[in-house]
């Protein structure tokens, strides 16, 4: 009788196996483990599937999920429609339970799906090569900074203050570890874009890279062309982009970006409390040997058939060890395949439609909010699907509490991370916000404010 559904051994089998090994008991196999510390794990005993499921469902129900409210909050994780096909395909055991494709002959599904993912990311970014994923947008930015220093040997990174605060902090952690200097670039209080004059003054021969958002944390679209014009040819231009926005905005690569990174969660991945997300990373072909992460390449097999394989593995830790471009081993391949399925399903027109609707609803909301006494948009710069608003009548906390009573997840509070903006909030709309929801929100805002 098997003791556990995941562990097949019957008592008879255990006996036979012990005989083959030549020991009397399983305990004998642990005789070299010091007996010094006896302990009793303070954990409950084993359970059955149904009891565990019941316990977890109860815990799930204690949470308010985004499908139960109208969502007007983005700030790095976005609520988009996820077509049913995505889960149906990505949950297939051959994808879900497959290992890293180190044996390519039996991993062509993985390798081709990721090769296609790389292609789509490269297209969105307007650059020649992309890797097959990083953990998230934040670590992708951090690794881009480290890569820039590897490329040009300079030691200072200029990073926009208008980037996601968590991305800034993570980049700080990684750069501090390598004694790389980070300098914050201020944004204009008027436009919400990078202050170009201050950028110009900060540029010198020590600067390895400049990092800006596209759009930035405030939803504002930076003028990449103007920024690029200020940079000398050695400076690496790193752009942190929203992948949905990239379907309608000019590709950063075409505007001079050397590295494009970002958070790929909006591409078919559920919000999942912020993880697992998906870091994407694209760069110019000439820098590929300095890029971190696994890369899939095309080749042929012994019969001349097209096949795919991991390439340039000598950059990675399992070969280069201490001299690797990064320590990254496990990545977010499954999330990348989800994104690939999403991008192929939505396709060239679908992604664009999602972007346009997201933009359209945000701009309508912006216009109507501007008309409400006690609410004033902060920035005049062009924006995509998020915009910041100053509140005069009540605090952000009070506003959001009231909105939640009406089953609305209100805008993101900004003051904690950006005290200079005072009592301000960040609104977001996506294609998953209905026009009715917009009107409902506006109605409640007019009442509350």
């Amino acid at each position: 009788m098997s003791h556990f559904s995941y562990i097949p051994h019957t008592d008879t089998e255990i006996q036979k196996m012990l005989e083959t090994i030549g020991v009397k008991s399983v305990e004998a196999l642990f005789s070299d483990v010091p007996r010094v510390f006896d302990f009793d794990l303070a954990l409950p005993d084993s359970s059955d599937e149904f009891s565990v499921a019941r316990e977890l469902k109860t815990l799930a129900q204690k949470n308010l999920n985004l499908n139960e409210v109208a969502v007007f909050r983005g700030a790095g994780i976005y609520y988009h429609y996820i077509p049913s096909v995505i889960r149906a395909l990505s949950s297939r055991g051959e994808f879900l339970t497959a290992y890293t494709p180190y044996q390519p002959e039996v991993s062509q599904g993985t390798l081709q799906a990721l090769f296609e993912f790389q292609t789509m990311i490269a297209e969105l970014a307007g650059l020649e090569v992309a890797n097959s994923s990083m953990y998230d947008g934040a670590t992708a930015v951090a690794e881009a900074a480290l890569m820039a220093v590897r490329v040009n040997g300079r030691n200072k990174i200029l990073i926009s203050r208008a980037l996601h605060p968590e991305y800034q902090r993570v980049t700080g952690t990684y750069c501090h570890a390598q004694n790389i200097e980070l300098e914050e670039l201020p944004y204009s209080e008027n436009t919400g874009q990078i202050d170009l004059k201050k950028l110009k003054n900060s540029l010198n021969d020590d600067v390895s890279a400049v990092i800006v958002g596209y759009p930035n944390y405030f939803g504002i679209i930076e003028d990449l062309r103007e920024i690029k014009a200020l940079l000398d040819e050695k400076v690496i231009f790193i752009v942190v982009a929203n992948p949905i926005a990239l379907s309608v905005l000019e590709a950063p690569g075409s505007l001079g970006a050397d590295i494009v990174v970002g958070e790929g969660q909006p591409l078919g991945n559920p919000p999942s409390l912020g993880g697992p997300g998906l870091g994407f990373f694209a760069t110019r072909e000439k820098f590929v040997r300095k890029m971190p992460g696994r890369i899939i390449g095309e080749t042929q097999d012994a019969d001349g058939k097209t096949g795919y394989v991991m390439v340039l593995q000598t950059r990675e830790q399992h070969i280069r060890r201490g001299k690797a471009t990064s320590n990254i081993c496990s990545n977010h391949a499954h999330n990348a395949v989800i994104a690939a399925i999403y991008m192929s399903l939505m396709g060239k027109e679908g992604l664009r439609e999602v972007a346009i609707r997201s933009y359209d609803k945000a701009h309508y909301l912006f216009q109507r909010i501007s008309e409400i006494e006690g609410m004033a948009p902060l920035f005049s710069g062009p924006f995509f699907h998020e915009f910041a608003v100053k509140l005069k009548a009540l605090t952000a906390g009070e506003l959001n509490n009231k909105l939640l009573e009406h089953k609305i997840l209100g805008p993101m509070e900004l003051e904690k991370d950006f005290p200079e903006l005072g009592n301000s909030v960040l609104f977001c709309t996506t294609e998953a916000v209905r026009n009715d929801d917009l009107e409902f929100l506006l109605g409640r805002l007019e009442e509350i404010i």
């Binding site: 556990f4 995941y6 097949p8 051994h9 510390f37 302990f39 954990l43 005993d45 084993s46 059955d48 109860t58 129900q61 204690k62 999920n65 985004l66 909050r73 700030a75 429609y81 096909v85 889960r87 297939r92 055991g93 879900l96 339970t97 497959a98 290992y99 494709p101 044996q103 002959e105 993985t110 090769f115 969105l124 998230d136 947008g137 905005l249 000019e250 919000p271 912020g274 993880g275 697992p276 899939i296 095309e298 390439v311 830790q317 399992h318 070969i319 320590n327 081993c329 496990s330 499954h334 999330n335 396709g347 027109e349 679908g350 999602v354 609707r357 701009h363 959001n400 939640l404 997840l409």
Partner: protein
């Protein structure tokens, strides 16, 4: 054929609600030069095309659901479907990290309990669930080491010691944290050479990174002495938890003397490998290092669960938000299913399986280090080269023709033509018997006709691939004009 080649202009695979735009000229507020002139070159396919394409791709993959993966150090155990169902519940998968804490109490409870359970299993005092992978956990651990000595005023501690059998991520992570790496040679038994260790320990050593059992599957029985040597020298001891599957319920790294531990939830705790990720690499520490953990930790007070950012000595954040929550949930479900008796039994069966297979295979290929192993063991394939002129690589490729995934090959580096085998506890005796039979058959083939191995595989979706060509002139994306 790639999905791009299957694309037909005008095909649509999605549907969106029929809603009017508020502005009939969308994107007009964005300056011309910042707009795309041409749509992104993404494919256009119907839903059925997409389903067929990815279904076809999936069928070219080997996976745990298909069969045995005896990969040493990877712990490719069965991925329970209960975990998947729980992780996909709306109440977990549709949460925004910036929702009010009162609205995510269930999620925070899962994380709090997981922090607690992992601490209990490993004998540590506090856990962070932030790191996204094992290597990420190693980096986090190394940053904690660095900050610890900064606060102690001991900036001369610039070195980290690793054994020559260490996994590549160990030196890579130490380097990323700003340390210099010193590799020490193992002794002839494959264990830490105490003499070499003593010689390398001085006031410049910040930490020693170890895994126990080590990558040869051997238990470092001198661990208590190693721990004493390290601590007497003021050096911290770091545990790479990749091999925890061997010892759950038997001994805890915290009790062995480790100060910092990382775990691989996608190994020991059954979360799926997903073609390479996402994993999760929680890091546990002893009390004195708790304040250095990345913020926030999940905490509990009279008002309920909350995110505690009050860690003034924290190393900072290592990724956005709180951790790979979707993965954490799966590990939670697994630990609740197995319970304390199940985790112990899992380790016992993992070790039983490994020793059983070791005994059966040792008759065919000699082990690198004889004697009882833990959850994995290494065979020395150099005999194949000498006797049959075939390499471990060729044996591995021929296994594919028998519908089996090969073991880890050429690691650890200290064994020539290494084959590292970890069956895990979820394989039955029958599977192990079959594996041994197949190895025996392949060795017969090696004797009778080595070319069979050298040109294998034959029956897989593609045959041996030209990796030289692939890396010389890499083609890393599909292009329309070929």
């Amino acid at each position: 054929m790639t999905i791009f080649e299957k694309s037909v202009s005008g095909r649509k695979g999605y549907s969106l609600p029929d809603e009017a735009l508020h502005d009939s000229s969308p994107l007009s507020k964005i300056p011309e030069h910042l707009l795309r002139k041409k749509a992104v070159e993404l494919p256009e396919n119907s839903e059925v095309d997409i389903v067929r394409h990815y279904t076809e791709l999936s069928r070219k993959n080997y996976s745990v659901d298909n069969g045995f993966y005896p990969l040493g150090s990877c712990t490719m155990k069965y991925n329970p479907r209960l975990n998947e169902e729980m992780a996909s519940l709306e109440g977990f998968s549709y949460l925004h990290p910036y929702q009010p804490t009162e609205s995510i109490q269930g999620a925070l409870e899962v994380m709090y309990e997981l922090q607690r359970m992992l601490a209990e299993i490993t004998g540590m005092d506090a856990f962070t669930l932030q790191p996204a992978a094992g290597a990420h956990g190693e980096l986090t651990g190394m940053l904690i080491v660095r900050k610890y000595f900064e606060l102690m005023g001991e900036d001369q501690r610039k070195k980290v010691i690793v054994p020559d059998s260490a996994h590549g991520t160990n030196p890579a992570s130490a380097k990323m944290a700003g340390f210099d790496v010193v590799e020490i040679a193992s002794n002839p038994s494959g264990l830490i050479d105490l003499g070499n260790l003593k010689a390398a320990l001085d006031e410049t050593v910040a930490a020693i990174m170890l895994t126990n059992p080590n990558t040869l599957g051997l238990f470092e029985k001198d661990i208590l002495e190693i721990s004493k040597l390290a601590h007497d020298n003021g050096t911290l001891l770091y545990y790479d938890g990749a091999n925890l599957n061997a010892i759950m319920g038997h001994v805890r790294p915290g009790d062995m003397g480790f100060d910092i531990v990382h775990l691989n939830l996608h190994k020991t705790f059954s979360t799926p490998h997903g073609m390479g990720g996402p994993g999760s690499g929680p890091v546990g520490v002893k009390e004195k290092l708790k304040g250095l953990l990345p913020a926030p930790l999940v905490a509990l007070n009279d008002d309920g669960y909350y995110l505690d950012y009050d860690l003034p000595d924290s190393i900072g954040k290592v990724r956005s938000f709180y951790g790979n929550f979707g993965v954490l949930l799966k590990a939670y479900a697994y630990i609740r299913m197995l319970g304390k008796n199940g985790l112990k039994f899992a380790s016992e069966m993992a070790v039983l399986n490994a020793n059983y297979l070791r005994v059966k295979l040792s008759k065919l290929i000699p082990p690198s280090h004889p004697g009882i192993c833990k959850h994995e063991f290494v065979l020395d394939g150099s005999v194949l080269v000498k006797e049959f002129g075939v390499k471990t690589l060729d044996l591995a490729k021929r296994l594919l023709d028998y519908g089996l995934h090969p073991p880890t090959i050429y690691f650890p580096l200290i064994v020539h033509e290494a084959l590292m085998i970890e069956p895990t506890e979820t394989e039955s005796k029958d599977n192990l018997d079959r594996f041994a039979e197949v190895i025996e058959k392949i060795l017969e083939e090696a004797r009778d006709n080595p070319e069979t191995l050298k040109n294998a595989p034959y029956s897989t979706p593609v045959r041996r691939l030209n990796e030289t060509m692939a890396s010389r002139k890499p083609i890393m994306r599909w292009k329309a004009e070929k």
